[in-house]
């Protein structure tokens, strides 16, 4: 069972590279054959000389990042990208979603599809496709949304997971909110689940938890890759009977995103610390899980700023105050535990019905995966993938800012000239408003 990754745009390619790096080093480090075989089969194929080649397709409209990425992977000596599994053009999208979606996407559709098809045919069995992109720029978001739609048509039975990197709130690109709104609204129709990392959050993790002084994109991407890797590496699910799960994306989507209106997944991992401190730290499962649970209900993505005041609402409170409480209701949660003594970890605290919506019981809403293998040097590590209200606020902010710009018709002509009309904008706004209202009702 293999996953084919499609890396789109600058961000997608860089995060993708870090992800493969983490997965490869983790898989090769471990001595247990079953784990590393499963991991390698999932993300790499082996050449006749025994080299590991990533099951990935690299797409960008500018050649620079792809060339860098390919070079760096080749230099690592442990794995590399396929020699012909990348596609780039000379001219980018200029941070214009419409340019990517309406021009570059359709124009290069067939080439990209051919590259993906080749990778898919190399798999004994395809577990699904993972598209990685940012939502702010033009290539990742515009071409990415188009390619996702197209892949959905070509592989109707496969699982498609989109990994999105949300931009800094303060702004990298003036039209990032437009691009984000359009991307999200389009992906929501075609993707099975949308896994989100916010740059702001990851940046804070880098500065506060990892104590990095001058934070580069590589640092940010490494954190994202660590969290993603801990989700995607082999694990034992409840019904896998001691064998590593064969269908990671299917199980992930099936346990978290069955409802068509709720597809946004957020991730939090614990512990995260500078690699120099890891050796001097000890963790206990009850402690880690207690923190993680409080992070979930108080909606904090970091151990450092957990609000311990937030409590589970009682039944009566729940009916009274639907909005405004700081309590973060979940629709579904997936807890992934990796490391020593994992079977002794007690996860009952996540099965409290008060954590979840009234219409889904904890048995359906909560799942645990476990793996006794130490992940990325952390003796014990817990990751929580949550389909909850956590992303409601950033999404609402993004939508609000985009709406304000749209109300004054700022930059709209840049989109109209490539074929995205004001109606398309309005459709996307309406759709995301619906998503927000659905999450609000949890």
């Amino acid at each position: 069972m293999s996953v084919v990754t499609v890396q789109l745009g600058q961000c997608g390619n860089q995060v993708g590279h870090e992800l493969f790096d983490v997965i490869c080093s983790d898989a090769l480090e471990d001595q247990r054959k079953g784990y590393s075989t499963a991991s390698c089969e999932r993300f790499f194929h082996q050449t006749a000389h025994g080299e590991l080649v990533a099951r990935a397709v690299l797409v960008d409209m500018e050649p620079k990042v792809i060339n860098q990425t390919i070079c760096r992977s080749a230099k690592s000596g442990r794995w590399r990208y396929g020699e012909t599994s990348h596609f780039s053009q000379k001219q980018g999208c200029g941070n214009n979603w419409a340019h990517g979606f309406c021009v570059h996407g359709p124009r290069h559709r067939d080439v990209v599809e051919e590259l993906v098809r080749r990778e898919v045919e190399r798999c004994d069995r395809l577990a699904g496709l993972m598209a990685m992109m940012s939502v702010a720029g033009g290539t990742g978001s515009g071409v990415g949304a188009y390619i996702t739609r197209y892949l959905r048509d070509v592989y109707p039975k496969s699982f498609i997971l989109n990994h999105l990197t949300w931009p800094y709130g303060t702004g990298e690109v003036i039209v990032q909110n437009y691009n984000s709104v359009l991307t999200l609204a389009h992906l929501y129709h075609h993707s099975d689940a949308i896994l989100v990392h916010e740059n702001d959050t990851v940046h804070r993790i880098c500065s506060q938890l990892l104590n990095i002084k001058h934070i580069s994109f590589t640092d940010v991407n490494r954190v994202i890759a660590h969290q993603l890797g801990s989700i995607l590496q082999p694990a034992l699910t409840t019904d896998s009977n001691g064998i590593y799960s064969r269908n990671p994306l299917g199980e992930l989507v099936g346990s978290l995103a069955c409802h068509p209106e709720y597809k946004l997944l957020s991730v939090s991992t614990i512990p995260q610390m500078p690699s120099s401190s890891i050796a001097y730290s000890t963790f206990s499962w009850p402690g880690l899980l207690k923190h993680l649970r409080q992070m979930l209900i108080s909606n904090s993505k970091m151990e450092e700023c957990i609000d311990w005041q937030v409590q589970l609402p009682s039944a009566s409170e729940r009916t009274r105050t639907l909005l405004g409480s700081s309590f973060n209701t979940s629709l579904a949660n997936l807890l992934i535990l990796r490391g020593k003594d994992v079977y002794s970890a007690e996860t009952g605290s996540f099965e409290d019905p008060a954590l979840y919506s009234s219409w889904l019981s904890p048995e359906e809403a909560f799942n645990v995966w476990k793996s006794p293998v130490i992940f990325n040097k952390y003796e014990k590590s817990a990751t929580l993938v949550s389909n909850s209200k956590a992303l409601l606020r950033p999404l609402d902010n993004m939508l609000g800012k985009a709406w304000n710009m749209f109300a004054s018709r700022a930059y709209i002509h840049q989109y109209v000239k490539f074929g995205i009309s004001e109606e398309d904008f309005l459709d996307s706004f309406t759709f995301l408003e619906q998503v927000i209202s659905s999450y609000n009702q949890l």
Binding site: R125, G254, S358
Partner: protein, 416 residues
Amino acid sequence: MQQSKAAVSVEVKQVIASLCKMLSAVGLEEVPAPETFRRAKFGAGPEEDQFWKLLSNILQTAGIVSCEAQAQFGGEHCKLVAAGLWQTGYYADWMFIKEGGGGGGGEERRCSSRELLLALGWLIAEGTLEKLVSQRVKKLDRTLFTPMPVNSQFPTRPQIDSSSLRKLQWLVGSLRHQNRILLSMQEERTHLLHAVFLASLSYPESSFEQTSAVLKEDCVCMRGLCELLESYLNWKQVEKVFWTWMGSVLDCHLTDPVVVEKAPHTLRGSAKVCHHGNRGLEKMENMLQRLPTRQKGQGRYRAFAEDRGGAEALQAGSDTSSLPHLLPSLSTLHTFPQVYRARLQTIVLVKHSSRPTDGPCGGAETTDELPASQATQLLLQMEALLLQRRDTQRLANRMQMQEVVSRQEDLVLIPP
């Protein structure tokens, strides 16, 4: 013209051959040869036994006739077949003659192989074939997943509120995902099977045989399965020809009824004449007793005939041959099942208008529609008539019984 006819007959033969092939692939024993089918179309002959066996085989294998019933009937194919056909909703005259006839004169009441052929057609049209195929597939494909009965408790009256709706949407989504996971598992299984197959090819034959008896057994099953599915596919492609031919058999049956005890071709074109001689009256009494059930069977039979596009005048033909003395009022009874079903009525109207001289039924079909009030009246009349007949019959039966009893009383039993 001659040539095309010959071509058609060759085609029919092939089609019947494919049917036979499938019947044997399904696991039935003693399937008649295609030629036997052709001869059966023309009535009496030595083919009957084969058809009796085939029909009883089908009915038993499909589970229409239970094992107990089988044991009860012993070796008598005829009774078993009649009972089985009756359960599938088939009606034909011969079934009742047998039943009513009792022990004596069995030879006289034999039915022609054409009738049995028609019965076979009915069974096929009824979907028995599909039942047999799926049964066989279940037996051959051991990896087939038989769904476990899930005892899910649903509220008797579904609640229509937003949270139930959301829950429902979630469950539907979950099902969809599981379906996809299952599909991909199936793909993987195919991959692995292929790998096993390739590996088995590379081994020398003898070691393969020794090491994997199970695999070999599986292989035989798989081959059987492939054969079965292929023959079913073939049959499905040419089925139409078979039904056209079956239509001609039915035509043949209606215009040219075979009477086993007499020479088969002497009655050509005499559908309206009672050819049962003195037995006509007795038969009519018999029929009257069974009238309510008979209507049901006939209704279905008619639908069957229409489905297959053959033999328009089924009703007229069979009625005139079997019930020549029915009163006009009774004949209207036969149009009643159609009154409730607009489709049937129009078809029947067309049918009759194309053959206006057929049978006593033709007279009743003078208007296009029957008003409800009139229909009620007619039905009431009919009821009165039937009740009257029932009473008469009861009386007659009672008299007969008394007579028998009185005769019994005269007997003196002498102990040995």
